[in-house]
């Protein structure tokens, strides 16, 4: 950069490029991944390890349990998971069949659950997943009672963090013959799913819908309700009122296979803020821990896991992280990404179906590049690391179970995070908005 050249803060190179792109193409930018802007997040919190006032557990020796049971409120067969980290809903269609299989294998190896997506349940996914959560979405693509009965839990998707209030999207080059058949759609169309459920419109209807699903499945399956984080306090309370066994709150950092960039970056609230609001809502109803809270949207590390649990989540769910773990954005593929106009570390064209890693594609030739066994091993390793990291932090805080972490173990690095998470700014007893 030449000295004297000054880039505008307001019109930086990214904005200038976007204006030029909009002028050239005349249509909004569609991409995958999640929000790329800086947002208040779990990085803005710190855990207070034990010292004189608190007593730590032996970090390498003493037990720190990680098990969690989801769906204890009404379901006859709640999910019993070994770790409080699940794999989030991602469709066959958005992801290749080998990728879905790999996620199922990894989840099974770690004793946790994986989740279907907007497109139905594939045989590979069911066979590879010991515990599979089956999503009921507005589109109802592939929805059928046989899959409901062979699922281990049902997740009613009201919204998603990347696009709260928006419907799914799968562009034509990913609508292969198999995807089209599963969704009862013509091959090659640009599928834009409905954003509203076709047969219910509000919380009173939702209560009846949940009751119907329970009746169809003989009250065996836990019923989750997933919401994109917006008016989280009220949404969580209404979902509890409607009879949910567990609630999934997906913050705005949550990933997507295809959504308008403007939607990803400008709708919803950060996961950090949503977690606190969801816990508040449950505590207000005296339902905290009775209705389990699963938090998703930008959970990347064991530190994120530990902090989400400390704020009151029962479990977390991961999408983007496991896609990366499978091999997405790998430096080994940098040349291939550059041929697509991107680069390793930047690739977000998950909607395009040209993924050189064979993950976000329906091209059989590309999908064949992903060995499900290898990808499963990577995901399992990643989930193990997250678990070990969360346990390490929990032990340091003196906890024999990761669920014993609590808000009192946290401080905030920024005023924003302190206000959102309602924990004190580090070195002070100040919680903005709570005590002056």
């Amino acid at each position: 950069m030449e000295p004297g050249l000054r880039e505008s803060f307001l019109y930086d190179r990214t904005i200038i490029a976007e204006i030029q792109r909009a002028a050239r193409e005349g249509i909004y930018d569609i991409r995958g991944f999640g929000a790329k802007r800086r947002l208040p997040h779990f990085d803005d919190l710190l855990l207070l390890g034990a010292s004189v006032s608190r007593y730590p557990l032996e970090g390498y020796r003493e037990k720190c349990a990680t098990d969690v049971v989801l769906g204890t409120r009404f379901a006859r067969k709640p999910l019993e998971l070994k770790i409080p980290i699940t794999i989030a809903g991602m469709s066959f269609g958005a992801l290749s069949a080998p990728a879905k299989e790999a996620l199922g294998r990894a989840a099974t190896e770690l004793g946790t659950a994986t989740t279907t997506g907007d497109g139905g349940m594939t045989e590979e996914e069911r066979q590879s997943s010991k515990t599979l959560v089956y999503q009921l979405l507005p589109s109802r693509y592939g929805m059928n009672p046989n899959d409901l009965r062979r699922a281990d839990a049902i997740e009613i998707v009201v919204g998603q963090g990347a696009k709260p209030g928006g419907g799914g999207m799968l562009l034509g080059h990913k609508i292969s013959d198999r995807v089209a058949a599963m969704r009862d759609l013509p091959q090659g169309i640009d599928q834009r799913s409905a954003s509203r459920h076709p047969d219910w419109t509000g919380p009173d209807d939702l209560e009846i819908k949940i009751m119907e699903l329970r009746e169809i499945t003989d009250w065996e399956k836990p019923v989750f309700v997933k919401v994109g984080a917006t008016r989280t306090y009220y949404d969580v309370q209404l979902a509890v009122k409607a009879g949910a066994d567990a609630i999934v709150v997906d913050g705005m950092q949550g990933g997507t296979a295809a959504t308008q960039d403007v939607f990803i970056e400008h709708a919803g609230i950060p996961t950090l803020a949503a977690t606190r609001l969801a816990v508040d809502a449950l505590q207000e109803l005296d339902m905290h821990r009775e209705v389990q809270l699963i938090v998703s949207g930008g959970i990347r590390t064991g530190a994120d896991v530990a902090k989400a649990l400390a704020l009151g989540a029962d479990a977390v769910s991961i999408g983007t992280g496991v896609v990366i773990a499978m091999g997405d954005n790998s430096p080994e593929l940098d040349e291939a990404y550059r041929e697509l106009g991107s680069a390793a570390g930047y690739y977000d064209d998950w909607h395009a179906g040209l993924d050189p890693a064979g993950i976000s594609t329906q091209d059989d030739r590309l999908a064949a590049r992903l060995d499900p066994a290898v990808a499963a091993r990577r995901v399992a390793n990643y989930l193990r690391v997250l678990t070990l990291e969360a346990q390490t932090l929990a032990r340091a805080c003196g906890k024999s179970h990761v669920h014993n972490l609590e808000p009192e173990d946290l401080v905030a690095l920024t005023v924003e995070a302190a206000a959102m998470a309602r924990v004190p700014l580090a070195g002070t007893d100040w919680i903005p908005g709570l005590r002056g």
């Binding site: 969704r183 009746e215 169809i216």
Partner: protein
């Protein structure tokens, strides 16, 4: 509960919990069940009556039902001798569901097979996101019906409300009366011989033999919005 002399299993919902009825219907196994005919008394607007059946049984419901009656039905024939609330036969896979009176919103929503027959009127969003079910309505239907309808046939002997077939895919729509308005990408199409034959067969299956198929008009997708082009943005 009692098995009447006629061989019909009678379940009175005034004295039997809904859960028990549905569980017994779910426990019916195989292609040749011991009890084929069921009669349900006093539904009194109850929700989720006879949902999730997967057996070749006949269920007659003597009265009005609430939401999601016969939801996700497979193989059974369910007859409602009254009106049905929201989402009757939602996501049905096969079999037949017959509503003797009127049906509320979202009748036959997302259905993937079988046939839903409504002898009265059906309210808004009839056949919404239908995926292979055939819906035949003797009366009229409300607005936003066949929204994003993907496959199957919607037959309306009366009138259709506004925004019929908005964002429709490959479903076939037949309306005998007036259509208040068509939704995005839904257009009137020529009623050819093969369509008259299809319609005649549907009316016969529904038991409406007195209705002349040639009096209908056909509507379907213009397929202009299948691929998202900027030039179509104004259509939404």
């Amino acid at each position: 509960m009692a098995v009447a002399a006629t061989g019909v299993e009678v379940v009175d919902l005034a004295s039997t919990p809904l859960r028990e009825l549905n569980q017994r219907l779910h426990d019916v196994a195989g292609d040749d069940p011991a009890i084929r005919s069921w009669r349900v008394l006093n539904p009194n607007g109850m929700h989720a009556v006879a949902c999730g059946i997967d057996a070749p049984v006949e269920v007659e419901i003597a009265g009005h039902v609430g939401y999601y009656c016969a939801g996700m039905n497979q193989r059974a024939t369910v007859r409602v001798r009254g009106n049905a609330g929201t989402g009757v036969a939602e996501n049905m896979m096969s079999g037949t569901v017959v509503v003797g009176g009127n049906a509320s919103q979202a009748a036959g929503a997302t259905g993937r097979g079988g046939m839903l027959v409504v002898h009265g009127d059906a309210a808004a969003r009839c056949g919404i996101s239908m995926k292979g079910v055939d819906v035949v309505v003797r009366g009229s239907i409300g607005h936003m019906s066949a929204f994003m309808a993907q496959r199957g046939c919607l037959v309306v002997c009366g009138d259709a409300g506004d925004a019929l077939g908005d964002s429709i895919y490959e479903a076939h729509l037949y309306v005998r009366g007036a259509v208040a308005g068509l939704g995005a990408d839904c257009v009137e199409k020529e009623l050819r011989e093969n369509h008259v034959a299809e319609l005649t067969a549907l009316l016969a299956r529904a038991g409406f033999d007195d209705v002349d198929a040639s009096e209908f008009r056909r509507y379907g997708s213009a397929r202009e919005l299948y691929n998202f082009k900027v030039d179509n943005a104004g259509a939404y």
